[in-house]
Amino acid sequence: MKMAIIVLLLIGGIFFFAVGTVGIIRFNDTFERAHAAAKCDTLGAVLSLSALAVYGGFSISSIKLMLAIVLLWITNPVATHIISRAEYRRRIEKNAIGAGGNENI
């Protein structure tokens, strides 16, 4: 029963990593790539680390894994948002967004 839960969580984590990678490769705009990368960061990593925490049981390593999960939940969407905001401000400064911008971005 425990092994079934571990295998299910690992399959979910690898599936979300693969979906995020396909999104990073095949999308055409930068913001779409950032949107696909955020799914890779949050859900894939959290499901994989949760599978390892279930395998460890009640131990000190599982507490450290839960701390790593909380830290990933806090820091990674913030990093994605800050990268996207930097790119948006750069394009506003370049006048690429709005009327009469260049098309090859």
Partner: protein, 87 residues
């Protein structure tokens, strides 16, 4: 259990290689930064898998430090991107 973690590590390494393709041929620097950020997250999970394959518990401390350093690196590189007008 070791077989399951080994197969998962191989699949995750394949996704890391596919992300390196975007990091090499991104048209802008932002695409490279996004791909490198995702590669950092995947290496965190890969170190966790290696920790449970080798039965070494002190690799999990490496995970915590690596995630914090990756976050600070993303902040610094995004500050560098903002002032760059010529792509």
């Amino acid at each position: 259990m070791n077989n399951i973690l080994t197969i998962s590590s191989i699949a995750l390494s394949f996704t890391i290689i596919m992300c390196m393709a975007r990091a090499v041929k991104g048209p802008l620097t932002v695409d490279r930064l996004i791909a490198v950020n995702v590669i950092g997250t995947k290496t965190i999970v890969l170190i966790a898998f290696a920790s449970f394959i080798m039965n070494e518990t002190y690799f999990i401390d490496v995970i915590l430090v690596y995630s914090m350093i990756s976050f600070v690196a993303s902040l610094g590189l995004s500050e560098l991107i903002q002032g760059r007008v010529d792509d």
